[in-house]
Subunit: 197 residues, 2 copies
């Protein structure tokens, strides 16, 4: 493969990533994608066999972005509380740059739940819960699941509700400030949860 082909491929991937996340699978038109990527429509099929094939690679990347880094953070050599606080920071940093990511991933997962198994790999998810419970030595596995759900809820949902929250504010900068205010708030809540387990 030449260098130019890799560049074109990347231009398509970048545009597809942004457009799929914005519009979902059914909402994206191949022509619009070609325009946005600055390439010819025929090239989309030359580099990726079909719309579905292109979507699959984008979706894999999206799920990885949404879950991958927090799984790593959950496995670090730190106290449980420090790891939880670390995950909060990772989430807020990632999602401030990419606020539409979660609603896209969960909508597509809801539309086609089989994709969970195919692209995500259930094992990595179990790893996340296990990393927090440390095989039951720190907290029981069932409690760890509740903890993970609460943590992800508090971190991720505000971004999914962004269009609504924005109605209470003047602009995007206000939203960012609101999120920054939540950072210590969520950490404190999670610390309290740890005490009550």
């Amino acid at each position: 493969m030449g260098k130019k082909s890799e560049i074109t491929r990347q231009k398509i991937m970048d545009a597809a990533y942004r457009l799929f996340i914005e519009k979902g699978y059914d909402g994206l038109r191949m022509q619009e994608l070609a325009d946005r990527a600055g390439v010819n429509k025929g090239l989309l099929h030359h580099y990726f066999r079909s719309k579905q094939a292109l979507f699959n690679s984008i979706f894999t990347r999206s799920v990885d972005e949404l879950f991958g880094r927090i799984i790593d953070t959950a496995g670090e050599e730190k106290t449980l509380e420090a790891r939880l606080h670390g995950i909060v920071d990772v989430y807020f940093d990632t999602l401030l740059d990419n606020p539409q990511l979660p609603v896209f991933v969960f909508f597509e997962l809801n539309r086609n739940p089989q994709q969970v198994l195919a692209y995500f790999g259930l094992e990595r998810l179990r790893l996340l819960v296990n990393n927090l419970s440390a095989n039951g030595r720190e907290i029981p596995i069932r409690q760890a699941l509740h903890m993970v759900v609460s943590m992800v809820s508090l971190c991720v949902f505000p971004f999914m509700a962004r269009p609504v929250i924005l109605q209470f504010m003047k602009n995007q900068a206000d939203f960012s400030r609101f999120i920054e205010e939540r950072r210590p708030l969520v950490k404190s809540l999670l610390s309290h949860m740890l005490l009550t387990l």
Copy 2:
């Protein structure tokens, strides 16, 4: 209008409600909707001018279902804590019956944020926050916004993540049990939040 026309109209609305929520606006095909409703495709356009018009009435109903009842609960003549706990119960009860509702609403709001203003009425949302802060007598308005976001996050997100959470369980009944376990957990968290304001 005759009685039969009302029945047909209702059959269409019911099928559209389920299908739009399952597939989103772009994913729904009018033919599939006609099949599911047990009516002819032409009738869809006879009763509702267009797909968009049909969607609009479904979306209004969906937003109302997701926010309407909690706004009422927030305004009841009770202590702030009792109202918060009441909202948790309303959410869990509603969403156990209709788990796909939130991801649909937030996906469509994200796709077309103008719909917030058009169909929801920003005023009712402000009312919710105001009801909780009671015009600043109970808690400041900014804190009330954080409280509402935290509460809705903890109640709604687990349903949006249902396809993922289900991977940790055997069946739908297990998921319902998991949600029931969360009911006191979330209430206790919210009570703690009230103390720290």
